[in-house]
Amino acid sequence: MTTTMAPSRQRSGAVDRIRSAVAGIDWVLLLAVVAISAFSIFMVGRATVNDAAGPRFYLDRQILFTLTGAVLMLVAMRVNLDRMARWGWGLWGGLLGALAVVYLVGTATRGANSWIDVGPFNLQPSEIGKVMVAIVLAGIAVERLEDVGTARFTLFLTVVAAVPAVVVFLQPDLGTSLVYGAVLAAILFLVGVPWSHFAVAGSIMAIMILAVLWVLPNAGVKVLQDYQVQRLTAFIGAERDSSDAGYQLDQSKTAIGSGGAVGKGPDGATQSSGNFIPEHHTDFIFAVTGEMFGFVGGALLILLYALVLWRGLRTMARASSQVDMLVAGAIVAMIGFQVFVNIGMNVGIMPITGIPLPMMSYGGSHTLTTLIAIGLLLGINQRRSAIRG
């Protein structure tokens, strides 16, 4: 090698690096995610202009979260999931440890002990746990592929997911623990667990729901807090329920419905500006969207999510390893489940479970988590392209 060649080689090395970094990126997925995130920043800003914290408080933070998330997304793209999955038990232990710390030193907010203060921000380990559980389960499943189909395999994976899920449930954060369940179900489903296991799991779920909501309370054992039960059952109830949960639901539906076909625009959205929509920047940001931009806006947003899910499924089908495939599938399930449950509760067809709308709702931990998950998807797609190419 000669020194005269060095600059040129260095330059070409840098170009190559950028080229290789960019090669195989799923631009459609990336564009959809950028679009949703940009819209999120706009909506969080508009929804909170009248808030006591100041017109830019949430907006600035959401911008910061999104930018941080973008950096983490780029990092996640480079993560080797197969290697990471080998450390599955370590991740699992780390997650449980973090959850335990939260439980011990966490700040009580709205009756929930789910975050750790980090300077001005607070971290919710249960959020990043969604992705971690996906990787852990994928790794374990792939390690024990010979056992797929046995009850032992299914039970084992279920327990692995259930331990953190129960801890999260006890925080209490019902919604997030349900997301863990969705991740587990997706991995079991994709790995090929027989239908009969799902039937049994479904029956057990039904019995548990009955027990938690009806049998045990009647027997004097309170599993859920009153407000949780109310939130879960409000969507079945009367149109104008006077309970807090009923009020939330009613106001959310009123906001969305009054938006009409094309919406009232950001300035005419009285339900949002008058503070009628509770949690208008987090759980009920879809209601604000629906009021401001009507059916057109809401449908476009749903189509963007459909795009994300489709690219996720496509990535899964083209994954270069089993771990990649399972993680991709778990991420699609995680995002899809949250989108459906969140929008579903905004429009009054799902219970209020406190699940954020991925990439839209205000919030640091969940924005970071979703963008990391997207980064993993992009990475999986890219690796496969690299192999092919």
Binding site: P194, G259, G260, A261, F295
Partner: protein, 645 residues
Amino acid sequence: MSTGLPPRRGSNRPAGGWAPTLTPKTAVRIAILGGIALGLLGLLLIRLWFLQVINAEQYAERADGNRLRTVITQPPRGNILTRDGVPLVTNTTGENLVARPRELTGERRRQVLAKLAPKIGETLPALMAKVNAGDNQPLQSVVLARNIDPVLYRYLAERRRDFPGISLEETYLRSYPEGQLAAHLLGSTGPITAEQIKDLRRRGYAGDETIGVDGIEQQYESVLRGTPGRSVVEVDAAGEPLSRQYVSSRSPVPGRDVRLSIDSKTQIALEAALAEAARVTGAVGAAGVALNPKTGEVLALGSFPTFSPQTFVTRKEKPVSALFNDPDRPLNDRAIAGVYPAGSTFKAITAAAALRAGIITPDTQLESPSSIVLHKQRFRNFRENSHGVIDLAYAMRVSSDTYFYQVADDLWRAQSEKNDVYPLQAEARLFGLGDETGIDLPGEVPANVPDPPWKKRAYAGPDYTDFQRSWLAGDTIQLSVGQGFLQVTPLQMAVAYGAIANGGTLHTPTVGFEVRDPNGRVVQELSKGRPTRPLGVSPTALESIKQGLYDAANAELGTSTSVFGALPEGVKVAGKTGTAEPGDGGEDHSWFVGYAPFDDPSIVVSIVIERGGTGANAAAPAVCSTMAANLEFDPDLCGDPVASR
């Protein structure tokens, strides 16, 4: 064992080449996952369509209901005045005790209301319910007690700090400068009842207003009420106004004044006369009406015993329930809702019927013995007087019963149940009896003119025999002298005699005269355009009846000559006494109906004194002193009564 994945390979990282992880089975499962995602997102879109396109309007309304709050300001009610400008009902202000739901939240609401409840004689649950209901309209204060008394006012004013969220709000109250005068006419104002609320909501009431209850207050509610002010404010979820500006604002428009046709002097005199007659005779009740016979306008209308309308402003429980439970029923307006047999005052109508049917002419001479036997039954003259052979005018003058018994017998013969022809009853109905007069006051009763079909209905059922149900000659004979089943109100008799006085036109009586706006401009004439009806009695027949009525009050042996005989020319009275047997064996009701001046009548007065004895005894002097006030002659010219029929 079945698995969607190929067996695990040695290394997770494919060392080289493409590792096919996608088996057909996995592909199917991915497709299923995609299908589920598609289905669920489709479900969301459908739901969104349902909310935003199909039901958008409903939710838009709901959103407006959320953000817009209406603050209502009640206007003062219109005044009620007499025709000559004496205010009978005006407004004053009082203090309502109100709660502001927005400042009285959580546990504090219960604490404050619990302290307050015993002070205003309410129960805690009732107050809680009131304030809780106000949560929907947080800018509108909730009235807890109306027009609180000064003692409570001072107590609360001194302890403002102990009752946060509670305040005193000025309110309009009805005031009665003339005290009890015309109490029955006026009615009162009160809260809207649960039964009324639905109907009133449709007419633009919010439900917490006070409205006219009974009398003129009820009849002319729409005029007196005014238009409430309405300011629409945009608020946020906490009920906090978003800006100081109103979305829309309309000031309250005060109610309009109603001027009655009542003449204050006549009204005062009538009520005084009723009270005096009751005092003299010990009557529990009395009532009277004075009309202008040419127009039907009511000059005075009174009922005894009376009450103080102020009782319904103060709304103290004891006096109010005392009024409602009083056995003498002071709240009952006997002038329009009291029913009595007409007694001999009915003879004018019997005369008209007989003249119309050709049974008699004004000159027909009949013997008037002390008693006569008709249909094997003896009918006696009053006090068994006998008057010899007399004509119609003379029979009216002395109020001969036997004369009219004979006439009635012929009227009975002229009736036909088959053809539904009843000359005497038809005449009574032509004179407006047996039906509401249509006066602009609520609560009027039709009373009753009995006829054979009525008797069949009244005596229907197994408790009565066919004989009891059948209409007998005796029934017509009793009716001819205003006894038996006949029921009339003092107002009906005034209207009937008004028609005689004015030459044969039956007027619909009116109390409301005109509506004036707050500037005094007349905006509506209430007494004009009301239906009238000709009696169709021939002029000669009417003349002879009038002559009889004149003689009864002025000629020798006239039943009320002792009372009216001394009145000077120009205020000569024509009228008929009545002594009505109540049918329960008790003391007779005393009637007098008459008009004056005889030549050009401008007032007709009808008065009944319950159990006042003979007509000349109690009722005639009351009519005389009422007329004295209206026609401005000296009431001392009214003579002392001599008992006669």
